[in-house]
Amino acid sequence: MSSWEAVIGLEIHAQLATKSKIFSGASTAYGAAPNVQASLVDLGYPGVLPVLNREAVRMAVKFGLAIGANIARRSIFARKNYFYPDLPKGYQISQYEKPIVENGRLEIVLEDGSRKTIGITRAHLEEDAGKSLHEDFHGLTGIDLNRAGTPLIEIVSEPDMRSAKEAVAYMKKIHTLVRYLEICDGNMQEGSFRCDANVSVRPVGQEKFGTRCEIKNLNSFRFVERAINYEIARQIQVLESGGTIQQETRLFDPDKGETRALRTKEEANDYRYFPDPDLLPLVLDDEFIESVRRTLPELPDEKAARYVEQFGLSAYDAGVLTASREMGDYFESVVAKLNGHAKLAANWVMGELSGALNKENLDITQSRIDPTRLAGLLARIVDQTISGKIAKDVFEQMWNEGLDADTIIESKGLRQITDTAAIEQVIEAVMAAHPKQLAEYRSGKEKLFGFFVGQVMKQTGGKANPAQVNELLKKKLAG
């Protein structure tokens, strides 16, 4: 066999950031003691009825509009029937035949800078199940129904991705988008954002899809990439050794780095979907949809394009700075306070600041240096009070000690030396102290230029303006 092509589609589950559940008034907050956030409706008590949370509908519509999808004027909630202890009613209320969002699309940027559009078949509203806890109960299973009834949108892509990297890029893009829209907190550790991956392979050039396997419940970008890569390799190996792929559901084991079969197609549940008679069809009018459209923020792609246009940033930098709404806000705030110098601001936000945040695992909203103070530091580079190199030291002190840039510069005497006479004086002293090196330089060993720069900077405590040092040194050394 020659070469194979992978075909990948993702089903992403995003918990909607509503205050209360999709069909009850119970809180959706994470981390409460088991079952304290489960109302009678969430517990599936006899006689209770679901009432749809309008805010969840609003959020789903917002998502649909952001991916350029059709918003169904009429969608239907159905019951997906199966027995499981953490599914209190014995059915999950979900949208089946008529979802609220259909036919959207999203553009991803690949590592080589090329772009690709991924189709989004549908996104539908549904309720989450509770959790089964198998540890700590001495062979029994504990049930926590706090999560039961939490609103989800399930976002189903077309099988448009051809590698694990593309799948991760798509998933990250959706992750960015739902947080921009403020409809999901995107917290993957808490399970607010997770996905199932459908993977198949086919010989390059073949049009027909191969048999697919579904890998369930992947809750990190890294797992998605590893699971898909493992699965692609597994399927190719099976096919190349003459076997066939069984359509089945598989689980990824992050410890072993492999997927294993959970159940085959034959063992799959017959969910007996039918329209939920407790809920009327969800009817949306144009006025409602337009009212949601008016709440749409500037979307990541629009923002990135503006950064290129308005600030002259590269497409890459613009992409990095718009990866989260908060990062973009921070960056723009610095630029505003600095009255321009966007490239400088971009370098610092993506460089020193991101580095410091990553080191302590903070997000930008938790930064110890706010945009005003960072702008204060960068202003001193712009007006040449300090050099970029000194600025890095000042940044570190700002980060650790919480002081502002000017205070540090003044108290430590870091103000840059730009007085030509003063710099010349130091240069002359350095030349006098190193006659041997001076002779070698003048006899053609120009590499020693760096040595002299270093000496001058050392003598001035790094405060001499580097450009001036270069210029004046060249002149003096030439004799």
């Binding site: 006899p46 209770v48 009825l49 014995g90 008679p277 809920l279």
Partner: protein, 487 residues
């Protein structure tokens, strides 16, 4: 002086207001009758005497202060399908034989807030699945007119209790005839309102798109009194309708001159007991005397209502009853070895045979490969039936016919033949499939057994139905008869 239990709900309410007797006296009188007659009737699953007396005392204090709604202080009973806070709510199933509800159904809450005094919870077919009250885990209910006969079902306990005057009125639910059929078989006035008129919140679901709460009373006036309190939008039930509730009492006495009555041809086809048919025709003549015009109408798809119903209702029930799994409440089998064992034995032991039959039927018709042929087809038939009714109501104000094919049958007579049992609902199911309001009122006796006249109206025409029923009851006294032994 007549006995307290010879009065209608409306008369008792007036008596309380006139201070001729107190709510406590009234409550004690009916509690004593329950104590005396219930061992034979088996109409109640739970009697809440203590709570009833407390509520009656509170009502008397309010009455003394000249406060309160028209229902203040009158005793009633609830079908055991309505959740009642702090009270056993069984749905007549072993599955819920230990279930004390932590909340009140909207119907219970509204009647209680209006000051009605609940005496307890009445027997019924298990999960409202049955037409004879024989499927109850708590045993069959006897028909007060003849203890060898069934009282009908599924609201058989409510019907027997009111017929025997051990309570003046009771709530019921009607999914395929479960109020009207027992009303007919026990000589009562039964009202099933329009789907969505009364909240289903807290009413344990059998078939959600068909279930509707209603009343079993002596008269149309009593039904109007209760419905005035029960009806109305409930934000906890998305299928309840946000439409104003008319003054049902004010409409009762409107003249029937010019009323156009559609006589449904299909209701008089083969299968209808001849003597019952004669009584129904007699009632129609009475309406003519009152100035109504009879017009024969046809509902050609009506004969398909039983098969359509026995696809839709089981489908919904198979899903609605999935929550009874032994995990969170209700019956759990002893010493389960694993999850599957707990599910299968809890459900196997907790549900009776009729409930299991319907769960299996419903599971089957929703299965991959059968959904289109059964469930979807039944929904299409349902639409055709609704269209038939809608067309008929462009020509007539109400439709009339018999409520049941025959008077009450023997306990045990139809036990082995589900199809025969299902055919008891042949005249009543259509109104459920179309979501229409319908009533049954007593219109005579075959031997010693009562016969019901069914009246069906367009959506939200409860006021008209009650007016039409009341007009007949002003001229007749079938509804005043009390079974021998219960006078």
């Amino acid at each position: 002086m007549t006995e307290l239990h010879h009065h209608t709900l409306a008369e008792l309410a007036a008596g309380l207001r006139a201070r001729r007797f107190s709510s406590v006296e009234l409550t004690k009188h009916f509690l004593e009758r329950i104590e005396r007659f219930n061992p034979d009737l088996n109409a109640f699953i739970t009697v809440t005497a203590e709570r009833a007396l407390e509520a009656a005392e509170a009502a008397d204090r309010q009455l003394a202060a000249g406060e309160g709604s028209p229902l203040l202080g009158v005793p009633i009973a609830h079908k055991d399908i309505f959740c009642t806070d702090g009270v056993l709510t069984t749905c007549a199933s072993r599955m819920l034989s230990n279930f004390v509800s932590p909340y009140d159904a909207t119907v219970v809450e509204r009647l209680s807030q209006a000051g009605a005094v609940s005496l307890g919870k009445t027997n019924m077919d298990e999960f409202a699945m049955g037409s004879s009250n024989e499927t109850s885990w708590y045993g069959p209910v006897k028909n007060p007119w003849d203890p060898t006969k069934v009282p009908g079902g599924s609201s058989g306990g409510s019907a027997a209790a009111v017929a025997a005057r051990v309570v003046p009125a009771a709530t019921g639910t009607d999914t395929g005839g479960s109020i009207r059929q027992p009303a007919a078989l026990t000589g009562l006035t039964g009202l099933k309102p329009t789907y969505g008129r009364v909240s289903r919140y807290g009413m344990i679901a059998f078939a959600s798109s068909l279930d509707q709460a209603g009343t079993l009373t002596q008269t149309a006036e009593d039904a109007a009194l209760l419905l005035s309190v029960m009806a109305g939008f409930d934000p906890r039930d998305s299928t309840s309708v946000e439409a104003p509730v008319p003054d049902y009492l004010a409409a009762l006495d409107q003249p029937l001159q010019g009323l156009k009555i559609g006589v449904v041809k299909e209701f008089f086809d083969e299968g209808l007991d001849e003597q019952s048919a004669a009584l129904v025709r007699e009632a129609l003549k009475q309406y003519e005397k009152l100035g109504a015009r009879l017009i024969e109408v046809s509902l050609p798809n009506l004969p398909l209502s039983v098969p359509a119903y026995y696809v839709v209702a089981p489908a919904e029930c198979s899903s609605n009853l999935a929550r009874f799994d032994g995990v969170r409440f209700g019956y759990r089998c002893e010493n389960p070895v694993d999850l599957l064992d707990m599910y299968t034995r809890s459900r196997g032991e907790g549900f009776g045979p009729e409930v299991k039959r319907r769960i299996m039927t419903g599971t089957y018709v929703l299965s991959a490969g059968y959904y289109d042929a059964y469930y979807l087809k039944a929904q299409k038939v349902r639409r055709l039936i609704a269209d038939d009714f809608a067309k008929a109501f462009t020509e007539v104000d109400v439709l009339m016919g018999p409520t049941t094919p025959a008077p009450a049958f023997d306990i045990g007579a139809q036990g082995d033949d589900p199809i025969k049992m299902y055919l008891n609902d042949i005249y009543t199911i259509g109104a459920n499939l179309a979501g229409l309001p319908a009533m049954s009122i007593p219109c005579g006796f075959v031997g010693h057994l009562p016969v019901g006249l069914q009246i069906i109206g367009p959506h939200f025409a409860e006021a008209k139905l009650l007016n039409v029923a009341h007009g007949y009851q002003r001229e007749t006294d079938w509804h005043k008869r009390i079974p021998r032994g219960y006078e």
